[in-house]
């Protein structure tokens, strides 16, 4: 499949080194200590931070530092093809099976479901762990002994790069909660398709099976806190791809700093809410081509159907 056409444009009309449009909003969850919504193109993630608060499970209490916990989940409606609800549905069917003693065929069907759910759960546990470790690295946990910080992130719309979006949202939420940190961690992904390094992969590019390098950095300290790749790449290509992802992280960092500064400034002045819009930030200066993907939700009788339109406009 052709991911970069001869004109040098990607499937959604971006240049190879162009990032999707960023949008961040701080203070989305009323009851949380800190919260944020972060969007990268059509990927939309909400994060809520509770704490530092009393440790719920006494045995987990750490005497000289704070306990950081993270929970990642994906909303059922976040993906294009709607998945079955993980626990409730399948167990119900399993129970029915047990009661009515269904045929072998039925049983196989149920098993498939359970296995699919198993893989989803494993994936979300892994991402929870990744986010937790990344955030723990930057939080000054020793300043809040015997307490616990809970980070909840949920994917509202998945269109590739959810891991990065989750980390960015969590950073903003932690900054909003007034938790001391070394730096604002930011994350961005990059890939390598059609022998071109591509910044900020979307779902179609992500599922192409090529390498996907997710990088998390501390921009001011110039340190890498997260590096993940699920494929093989020659070392010199890898360096290029990673460099691209780092550039992306820095661009996101600028945006995040701007948003949190504006928020803080306004709170100090009058303390009001804030929604900041900003159009396409680019890691490299590119031709001013702006592309967007319009998602139209059509509510049919039983499920949400996602219809995608693509359009290219020149500004």
């Amino acid at each position: 499949m052709e991911f970069v056409n001869p004109e040098g444009l990607r499937l959604d009309g971006r240049r190879p080194m162009e990032m999707r449009q960023l949008r961040a909003q701080i203070g989305a969850v009323a009851k949380a200590d800190g919260s944020a919504v972060f969007e990268m193109g059509n990927t939309k993630v909400i994060a809520a931070v509770y704490g530092p608060r009393e440790v719920q499970n006494r045995s987990q209490q750490i005497n000289d530092q704070a306990l950081v916990r993270c929970e990642y989940s994906m909303a059922n409606f976040s993906t294009g093809d709607r998945r079955r609800k993980p626990k409730g549905d399948s167990t119900n069917i399993a129970c029915e099976n047990a009661i009515f003693g269904c045929t072998n065929h039925w049983f196989m069907f149920v098993m498939c479901f359970v296995m699919a759910n198993e893989s989803i759960r494993r994936r979300s546990t892994e991402i929870s762990l990744v986010i937790r470790q990344t955030m723990e690295e930057c939080i000054l946990t020793n300043l809040m002994p015997r307490s616990q910080i809970d980070i909840y992130v949920q994917v509202l719309q998945a269109d590739g790069g959810t891991r990065s979006a989750c980390i960015n949202a969590a950073t903003l939420a932690l900054a909003d909660a007034g938790i001391p940190m070394r730096d604002l961690v930011t994350s961005c992904s990059a890939g390598f398709l059609n022998s071109t390094p591509l910044l900020d992969l979307n779902y179609v590019e992500d599922s192409a099976g090529g390498p996907d390098v997710t990088v998390g950095i501390l921009p001011k300290l110039d340190k890498v806190t997260l590096l993940q790749m699920d494929a093989k790449l020659p070392i010199d290509t890898f360096e290029n791809v990673m460099q691209l992802a780092v550039e992306g992280c820095k661009a996101i960092a600028n945006y995040i700093r701007e948003v949190s500064f504006a928020r803080e400034y306004q709170t100090a002045g009058v303390s009001t809410w804030l929604v900041v819009h900003k159009k396409g930030i680019r890691a490299h200066i590119q031709a001013p081509t702006l592309a967007w993907l319009l998602l139209d939700f059509q509510l049919s009788s039983h499920h949400l159907k996602l219809v995608a339109y693509t359009g290219v406009a020149t500004s």
């Binding site: 530092p52 009393e54 000054l140 015997r146 900054a175 100090a268 002045g269 009058v270």
Partner: protein
């Protein structure tokens, strides 16, 4: 602002924005460049030595913020005051909390701090008012003083070694709060003042502005002092009397809701909550003849914001 998203129409939106812009510009004049975010460098002059306070750290010889907030400088001390964080206790603060656990000789209170606060049985007055050693019997009867989920008012006594705090309630004004509403607002909106207990005589309502952002609005109780004298005579009778709750008049209920809504509006807009501002807001609502429920509507929010902008402008003019 967080929480309630008020649905404003176009004109209201413009009016609110204008008022808030005005407030912001006043702030800009007062403190220029004082806001920082995480990992921003705080400019300090190299000539004199400085003390690094909360929310700062050193990196390559530069002072760097570890929080988002406002830089404060007191003589040599430089620190970052964060706005939307949890409560930072100081000794002597008057706070309102909720009992989450009754433990050995102590109650654990949720006070919006990173740990639960501890209220020792020995650091509060017994209901019979006698000063004596606490016996095992007192310990068994702890639930008759405070139960789980009770709202309690107290004072920060000292810090423990592990960073937790101890409270005391060794005065008649402290203790259990009943018949009223508990409001939780961000703690930075409550400034430390001389008085945190207020008796609003015209409404017959007690108002306690806890430093931890927990605010109590309840029916006025003046009997706390008398109880002691009474109880010396007939403890039994007093006990039954306090349990049979006397019906609260409708008028008082109304004023409690009115005051609570005034505080809600102020905290949604992010204005500091002080007695004068609360009273002014209530006055504004009663001069407009607004119903209590209408106080949470968009129009009133805009009006309060506009009036606050006006007030601060006139204040700065007077100063200038």
């Amino acid at each position: 602002m967080r929480g309630i998203e008020i649905s404003l129409n176009q004109t209201q939106k413009i009016r609110l924005q204008r008022a808030l812009k005005q407030l912001e510009s006043l702030y800009l004049r007062a403190n220029f460049n004082a806001s920082v975010t995480v990992a921003d460098t705080i400019p300090v002059s190299n000539e004199d030595t400085i003390l690094k306070g909360h929310g700062t750290s050193e990196r390559d010889g530069e002072v760097v913020a570890t929080l988002c907030g406002v830089v404060e400088r007191v003589n040599k001390l430089v620190y970052v005051r964060t706005l939307r964080a949890r409560y930072k206790p100081e000794i002597g603060d008057i706070i309102v909390g909720r009992v989450v656990e009754v433990a050995q000789k102590r109650w654990k209170l949720e006070i919006n701090f990173s740990q639960d606060a501890v209220l020792m049985l020995s650091s509060m007055n017994l209901p019979d008012g006698i000063q004596r050693r606490r016996t095992a019997l007192d310990e068994l009867n702890m639930r008759s003083i405070f139960e789980e989920n009770d709202v309690v008012c107290g004072e920060v006594r000292n810090f423990q070694n592990d960073g937790g705090i101890q409270l005391q309630a060794r005065s008649q004004k402290y203790g259990k709060l009943e018949k009223g509403q508990l409001l939780t607002i961000p703690p930075y909106l409550v400034k430390r003042q001389k008085h945190h207990f207020h008796h609003l005589e015209q409404y017959g309502v007690d108002l306690i502005l806890g430093c931890n952002g927990f605010i109590w609005v309840g029916e006025h109780v003046d009997a706390r002092d008398c109880i002691v004298e009474d109880q010396l005579n007939n403890t039994e009778q007093q006990f039954t009397k306090s349990n049979t709750t006397k019906e609260m008049p409708l008028e008082t209920r109304r004023s409690i809701c009115q005051i609570a809504n005034a505080i809600r509006v102020l905290s949604i807009l992010g204005f500091n909550v002080t007695l004068e501002v609360i009273l002014e807001t209530i006055d504004l609502s009663s001069t407009l003849n607004l119903g209590i429920d209408e106080m949470l509507g968009p129009e009133f929010h805009v009006l309060v914001a506009e009036r606050e902008a006006e007030r601060r402008t006139s204040m700065t003019k007077r100063k200038g």
